[in-house]
Amino acid sequence: MLTKRASFVAALLVSFPLFAQTPESIAPPSGPTSGGTEVTIKGDFAEVRQYQVLFGEIPARSTTRVDAQTLVVVTPAHLPGASQIWISEGDVFARSSLKFTFTGGAPLDEFARLLVPINIHAVKGAQGSEFYTELYAIAKRGTPGVYGLLMECWFVCVRNDPWDYPERLTTEEAKYGPPDATPERFLYIRRQEAGQVSLSLRAYDVSRDEENYGTTIPVVNFDEASDTVIAFPSVPSHPKFRNTLRIYSDVAMKVTIEAGDVQEVVQLEPGASVFEPAFAMWGNFPSDAGQIRVRLTAEVANNPPAYLGRIWALLTVTNNDTQHITALWPQP
């Protein structure tokens, strides 16, 4: 055992000199999230080898050894944020001291964006209810990476930067807890891996676990499901139920809500990062108006006319006595 430990420590010491020697600088240190920036990395690249560079976990589009001190690298598309540079001289990648900062919005040509509409922990409601959500994720095939998916951790959370390192899924499902951020969350998957993921999100009331298995909440491929107009053809307006509308967008905007005879404009507040959608919650439904139609219309710029963004919405109908939730969402 002692020998094994010694070998491990020796291996670490051998790997550290690599960091100390190379690389030394990166220029420019930032570029757009769409990728394509030609970056020069200076260091000790004396060995004539096939060098490879990773930005977080994403390979550079190309890596060229120009001379013994220079690599020229073309950046890949990447989520915004400071990305760790890894360099390999062969099969093994070594973490460098360099970072490259990707600027701009999420590069949606290369990443699919999923919306997790509600992810909460122990929210107390009426009639002794206590609501939780439960998010499971699994790989249908391969080991797809999901950016922004956070493992459950209740005591000490050591997490990598979510924009740089995805959570790799396997064919064993894993449970992902409510993020220590907003309840609503965008996740990102590189498009070539998007079809490999299966998720399951359920809201339930622990105080009524005996009575039902809760309510499935859709996890939405946001850029396919969202639109500038969202409609719900038939929503109950009855004192038995309380209705709550949650509206999501990728940009802060105004949305006009028509619910039966009620019309209001709400402002979606911006999220703090690409993982947080712009969001608003609204519940001013008419009471006892029978079945009503609900329509949401995204704000349109006037001069020149242009759509500012797209919206998606979730409407929950909760029975006031039983606290049973029915989720309505835009279909199909």
Binding site: S200, N212, A231, R293, N319, L328
Partner: protein, 327 residues
Amino acid sequence: MTPFKRASVLIALLFSFSVFAQEIPWSITPASGPASGGTIVTIRGPIGSWPYDAVFGSVWASARLIGDHTLEVVTPPHPPGTVNVRLFEYDIWRETPLQFTYTGNLPEEAFERILLPVYVPPTFGAQGAEFRSDLRLAAKTNDVTVWGLVRDCIVLCVEPPDSPVTVSSWMRPEELLFSPNGTPGRFIYVRNEEAHQLVAHLRAFDVSREATNFGTEIPVVRFDSEADTTIVLPALPTDRRFRNNLRVYATEPVVVTITAGDIQGSLQLAAGRSEYEPAQGSWGNFPVDAGLVRVTITAPGTTTKIWAFATVTNNDTQVITTVTPQP
């Protein structure tokens, strides 16, 4: 105008109408073509020199005036069947006695196929339950034509089952109801260019427990984009409190393999009788008291895509939770 002149004009008008009526009869050549469209048809009849559009059933096509009383039209894609042909003359409708027969299979490339997974007449269950499904369709802003449905009609149903229905944004919720008219799972079709306008709401509910909840939303599925060769439902309960039922759908009657925890089974999907009925089957041989199990459904040896969802029903309260493939 003198009485003589008036009489002359009247006679001339009557004469001219009779010329149209007798000498320019309506005709369409050819009178049939593939459902994929693209057939060049010649329409002759009492046609003037106005700009014309032709409407096949409820699908528009622009017409070209190629001679006296003669239009040339390229047929648009349309589900198979015989449709009436109407003309739109500048700003008015012209009814014609013409019909065109679309042959072959539904042109999948021109239509969005949408799955209604469970759409049934009242069904009686345990503990006095009476399950119903409630389907409502609407349009966001512009009208949408939907093939495969019959509008809810209790007393007098005038729509033949094969004709499409048009839904609008201005309809009241009670006008948007539709009736089940086939197998529990059903495909409906919308033209690709109108698909983003469609709004659907499908809800299963137990009439005997309407006071306790609003029921369960059933997903309405864009089948061709959401189906896959493998479907995985990550965490399904196997507690005795619940009974689970898995429903599987495909476009072909394939055999699917189902793995639920330690149990593996196979299911032959029953073929649909038309393009409006998916191949479908249900399976309930879940393990009992095995905690949360993963359910994997595949169609080995084929590239046919499948879609599936599970229902988890509480045996006492009959409350249904759906577990669906996400995203």
